[in-house]
């Protein structure tokens, strides 16, 4: 009896342990790819019997002579490019008394705790990883101290609010690198003080926006408490005082209006706090030369610094990335002449932007009664919206247009309404601190149009019109220092008061000069696509909608930013403002030049009509929202649309996800699957999208395989046995590098693979600066090279698809994610993203810009409904994507270049999820812009409207963490349980739905086409297969399963035998 109990107990114990082992095994296999990334393990490998890796190779610069990878050279290249990114992108805003440049050998004191711990990246999103070069090091040293300066990041305990600071990398034992810094002597006293104060005022190199913000700048008494005699150190380091003011940016949180902690002497988060002002005052005590570095991705309210005669210089530096401080040092010491221009307008009060009247938390008054659909897999509040009542007047478009109208005395532009910083009536000079595109240099430049612009209008066979204006601008260095400058071409379309809304000025294109020596000139050619000066008129053709190029006088101008360009045009128009008419040209455009509606046919030949009318609240409930109009700035100034009430049933239905009904009775025989024709994916390298081989390949697949491919969009993407593809970890974040360490490569069979034991193996490629810094370079060629380098990185880490860069436009300064998006201007954003993506494609990396579209705030980002006019959507938000996706610059007569990837927004457009918007995904993206590629949802987004998403034009879902398809992760495995339409996701779901099957086929075509253009093809031939590898965690759980299984069986048998013997004995 005694033994029976023992065996029985042990049997039960083993049963329990066996069950745990099985659960652990299933969890590990279903998430193996993610586990590999985080643990640096490799649980499977794609292998081939043939010799591959002949389609894309890294440049010789980062390879050893034998073709193996050179980690040192790769890191050196990253350092050099990040440095260039910083000195090309940093914007000199003020430079009085020749404060800058400051010669090498100078002795300086740094002020502000952020001078010791600047923002280099985002807490979440585009984080900077691994070892960095600090501002102090860049100014003072000539060799890295990577081992002691590893980027940190904060994580907040959701329950207690406690902040934990962690390093992005445990340790750096790899190479150190020599560099030529600014050569300054830096006051060590203040460095020591701030180091000590970090114990009280925690800061990290990666931080994000905060809804209740505190810049955590120490007070003067804090400083004195550490070292009462600190002022005694100033005399020895008085050549300059450099102050750093920082505002962070990151995913998932915004700054909010009035969202500041109490007692800081600031009313808004992007204003200066009293302690920051005190730090600047202290700098004035320390030196007669005060230089302020603005370390931010958003418009900081610095009018007081602009107007302060004791602040000599202001340099905006963005969040410069891991090594970007070298570039900032280059500018400070004059090795490089600054040439950046502002990515956004900087205003005296950010609340003066009309968009700020409707930013933050807004919930339908009757949401609880009317909105039954939950927040989806991602969670989040339901029934949230924002009313983008500012219309097209976003960023500088508002301020410059209102300025123009105020000068001509029209539209109540000078009214007090909307004036936040003006002492009386609305006054541009008081409202705006630094305009969009503005930037100073250590030299001066003169511009002259080199001949008349060349206008070309070509009618294409598909009915579309290509109309361009080519400007040759002679740039002359009229100063004494060599330097380069951007040549920004702006345009102004004729406006009829009360008619279609038009911005008084808009950027049309730009290029950057080379370095021009003093007295020398360079002619820079800028080609403008005139479709970007056309306006979208939703009422055209009795409400059909389309683009119009109204007949009248058009103006084009060059200028140091939008404001100067506008003033040049105004002088050309005969208005009395401070401008230069020689910097502007005019052009009469009428039907004889180009038809008014010529741009209502897209470049693909598609007729452009209203595609997202439901974006406008008034489409459902007429007259409830008034959009800002320059016809009456005061009368249409946006009110805050709080507590909107849902009354329209169609609106309510759309909010509840009623988009698509899955059919069960269609005749689907026209869609052929499983044909058995022998076509294989590896044969598709270089095959054009429209080639019939694609149809042959996809006909070979089963519907189930196609559905797997259309469902699981990565990082792990399923294979399809019928066409010879294998499950592969293919995608990763982000825009500032590929988020996989060198020694965690997903492609370890590549000849250039960095060995696990390479001393630089744990280098992580996310090192570049934030997106505004890239945009503010106004340098397309640099953006291309950085994209190309990240393409090279992707070859080293085995990632063919990048979820990035960010391509939304900045609606206002408070979006916490502005650091991941380029600019408020769609052309600047679009050009930058296009160059990046085409550069990346050089090395087979598919860049998938995100988040298409309308992610205008992080607050309630999980499904917030932004309402706007279609004109606004097309002329601002979508234009950035259009520019990048059409990629007209890279088209040739034989080849239509385009982007091959896209990530869709969490947000809705109006009441419709972007992922399920046929207008957005098919009509505009695919038909108008000709997009052919991978279009994935954001993480776990809209899993509950599976059928609607996959029939909209979206090609797949972001299913991060899921892998082991067909076995551990299946279509009916519960990931897509709980559909709002009550359907059950499985391989039978679309059996009777012709439209869905055709959509799945189209999605698979696009995904496979994107893959075929990528460096994934380096790994494919007829013999490509997957080998499971015995990693420790797999060995451990399998051993546990076997061991506990055997013991379970043994003890169970012993228990039974013991019991039976016991009974017999009785």
């Amino acid at each position: 009896m005694k033994h029976t109990g023992l065996w029985r107990g042990l049997s039960a114990l083993m049963c329990f342990l066996l069950a745990l082992s099985i659960i652990a095994g299933q969890a590990l296999e279903a998430n193996s790819a993610t586990i590999d990334t985080y643990l640096g393990t490799q649980s499977e490998r794609i292998e081939s019997d043939g010799a591959l890796y002949d389609k894309f190779k890294p440049s010789k610069e980062v390879l050893n002579a034998d073709g193996t990878g050179n980690s040192h050279a790769l890191i050196q290249k990253a350092i050099d490019l990040n440095r260039e990114q910083a000195y090309e992108g940093a914007v000199l805003l003020k430079n009085e008394n020749q404060a800058l440049p400051l010669a090498s050998g100078s002795s300086v004191t740094l002020f502000g705790i952020r001078s010791h711990k600047p923002v280099l990246g985002s807490a979440f999103g585009v984080k900077v990883w691994g070892p960095v070069i600090t501002l102090e090091q860049a100014l003072r040293d000539n060799r890295t101290s990577f081992a002691s300066t590893i980027a940190d990041s904060a994580s907040t305990n959701w329950q207690t609010g406690e902040v934990t600071i962690g390093l992005t990398m445990n340790a750096w034992t790899g190479d150190e690198f020599d560099f030529d810094g600014a050569g300054y002597k830096v006051n060590p006293t203040m460095i020591e003080i701030y180091e000590k104060l970090l114990e009280k005022y925690h800061h990290e190199y990666n931080e994000g926006a905060e809804e209740l913000f505190d810049p955590r700048e120490p007070s003067l008494s804090d400083i004195a408490a550490v070292n009462a005699g600190y002022k005694g150190s100033f005399a020895q380091y008085k050549d300059a005082a450099i102050v750093v003011i920082s505002r962070a940016s990151g995913e998932s949180h915004d700054y909010l209006p009035g969202g500041v902690a109490e007692g800081l002497g600031m009313d808004e988060p992007l204003a200066l706090s009293q302690n920051e002002r005190d730090a600047i005052a202290l700098a004035k005590e320390a030196s007669d030369r005060v230089i302020v570095l603005i370390n931010s991705s958003a418009s900081v309210e610095i009018a007081e610094l602009k107007n302060d005669p004791d602040v000599d210089a202001i340099l905006w530096i963005g969040a410069p990335g891991a090594y970007g401080m070298l570039g900032i040092a280059d500018i400070l010491c004059g090795k490089v002449n600054p040439s950046g221009g502002m990515f956004d307008i900087f205003t005296a009060k950010n609340m003066s932007a009309p968009a700020m009247q409707n930013m933050g938390n807004f919930r339908y008054a009757n949401a609880a009664d009317k909105v039954s659909r939950g927040g989806g897999t991602f969670g989040g509040n339901t029934g949230m919206y924002i009313m983008e009542a500012e219309g097209i007047y976003v960023g500088y478009r508002y301020y410059e247009t209102r300025y123009y109208d105020s000068v001509i005395g029209a539209g109540n532009a000078s009214s007090k309404t909307g004036a936040y910083a003006s002492s009386g009536d609305w006054n541009y000079d008081e409202e705006v601190t630094y305009g969009f595109g503005f930037g100073l240099s250590y030299t001066t430049f003169g511009f002259a149009f080199d001949g008349e612009p060349v206008y070309e209008v070509v009618k294409n066979s598909n009915g579309s019109i290509d109309a361009t204006a080519t400007f040759k601008v002679k740039v002359t260095n009229t100063g004494k220092t060599a330097g380069k400058t951007s040549v920004q071409i702006y345009g102004k379309a004729p406006y009829e008061r009360g008619g279609l809304e038009k911005s008084a000025i808009q950027l049309l294109n730009y290029e950057k000069s080379g370095i021009i020596q003093p007295g020398a000139s360079e002619t820079v050619t800028v080609k403008v696509d005139l479709q970007y000066i056309a306006s979208y008129d939703s009422s055209l053709n009795n409400g059909e909608g389309g683009y119009v190029l109204d007949p009248g006088k058009y103006y084009f101008a060059v200028g140091n930013g939008a404001h100067e360009a506008l003033k040049n045009i105004m002088v050309k128009e005969g208005l009395k403002v401070d401008g230069n008419a020689d910097y502007a040209v005019e052009k009469d455009i009428d039907e004889s030049f180009i038809a008014r509606t010529a741009f209502s046919i897209s470049k693909t030949g598609e007729k452009i009509t209203n595609r997202i009318p439901y974006a406008d609240w008034n489409y459902f409930q007429k007259g409830e929202v008034t959009y800002l109009s320059r016809a009456d700035w005061a009368g249409t100034w946006p009110k805050s649309y709080t507590g909107m009430t849902l009354t329209n049933q169609q609106l309510i239905d759309l909010l509840n996800g009623k988009y698509y009904t899955i059919s069960t009775t269609d005749d689907t025989s026209s869609v052929i699957w499983n044909e058995g024709n022998g076509a294989r994916f590896y044969e598709m390298w270089g095959v054009d999208y429209d080639d019939e081989k694609w149809d042959e390949l996809i006909r070979n697949m089963t519907l189930e395989e196609a559905q797997y491919l259309a469902t699981y969009g990565g990082p792990s993407i399923p294979g399809a046995e019928t066409i010879g593809t294998v499950e592969t970890y293919m995608t990763e974040n982000a825009g500032n590098g590929v988020a996989v360490s060198l020694n965690a490569s997903k492609d370890t069979t590549a000849p250039w693979t960095i060995a696990q034991n390479d001393k630089n193996g744990n280098w992580h490629p996310e090192v570049f600066g934030n997106s505004p810094l890239m945009a503010s370079s106004f340098n397309p060629e640099l953006c291309y090279r950085i994209g190309a380098f990240i393409g090279e990185e992707s070859l080293f880490v085995g990632i063919p698809i990048l979820w990035g860069p960010g391509l939304n436009t900045h609606r206002h300064a408070y979006n916490g994610r502005n650091g991941e998006y380029y600019s408020e201007d769609p052309v600047l954003s679009g050009v930058t993203a296009m160059e990046f993506a085409i550069g990346a494609l050089q090395y087979g990396l598919i860049a998938a810009p995100k988040h298409y579209a309308f992610n205008d705030q992080e607050t309630n980002r999980s499904g917030v409904a932004p309402y706007m006019t279609e004109q606004r959507a097309r002329e601002v938000e979508l234009r950035a994507y259009q520019y990048a996706f059409e990629a007209t610059k890279y088209d040739t007569p034989e080849f239509d270049q385009g982007m091959r990837g896209l990530m869709i927004s969490f947000s809705k457009i109006g009441p419709v999820e972007c992922t399920a918007s046929v207008g957005l995904m098919t009509d505009i993206l695919a038909k108008e812009w000709g997009f052919r590629g991978y279009a994935v949802t954001d993480i776990y987004d809209d899993f509950d409207i599976y059928g609607a998403v996959l029939t909209s034009g979206t090609t797949c879902f972001d299913t991060r963490g899921m892998s082991g398809f067909y076995t551990n992760t299946t279509l009916d495995g519960g990931r897509f349980a709980n559909q709002v339409d009550g359907s059950t996701v499985n391989a039978e779901l679309f059996k009777g739905d012709l439209k869905a099957q055709e959509a799945i086929k189209a999605a698979v075509h696009k995904v496979l086409f994107a893959m075929s253009q990528s460096n994934l093809m380096n790994r494919y031939d007829a013999t490509t297969h997957v080998v499971k590898l015995p990693v420790f965690w797999r060995t451990a759980y399998q051993a546990a399963e076997i061991g506990f299984g055997v013991l379970f069986a043994l003890f169970t048998v012993l228990a039974v035998i013991s019991r039976l013997k016991n009974k017999e004995a009785k």
Binding site: M1, T4, G5, L6, R8, G9, S11, A12, L13, C15, F16, A19, L20, I22, I23, Q26, A27, A30, N31, F124, T156, W158, E251, S252, G374, G375, G376, T377, F378, G379, G380, S862, I939, Y940, F943, D944, R960, G961, M962, G973, G974, R975, A977, N978, V980, T1052, A1055, V1056, R1059, L1060, N1062, K1063
Partner: protein, 150 residues
Amino acid sequence: MGNLLKKQHVGGWFLLIAAIAGIVGVIAMLVSNGYSSAYALKGTPMLVLMGIGSVLLCLVAMWTPTLLGNHDVVSTFAILGAVALFSAVMGSMILSRILMVAGLFSYNSQNATGWSVFYAMVVSAAAFVAADLILVIGAFLPSVRKSAAK
């Protein structure tokens, strides 16, 4: 029922506690299911049936020794079945929500609904684990008093 309880020895009481823990686990699982349709478990009715089945097996394991004596084969297999079923329900629940939980501890920490689901799920999983461990301990011990065993 009164007679059944009177006959129980220490092992039997463990089995009873395990059954109660199992009921707590099932209830907490249903609570976690109720917060949002997005986090509802696939095949919830089956999981509930498995949970109830486990509880019934615990009761069977309490009852059969009163007829067949301590550590009888039927109660042994009932205990093993209960352990397996409790584990299966718990495992299914965890596996289906592992990505949600990963999100809560990283990019999606503001998901209030998710946290409510998580709390209830933790209670449920803890109850199932407790039920399993109590069953294991109970398996070592005699379920009924010798005098009560037929």
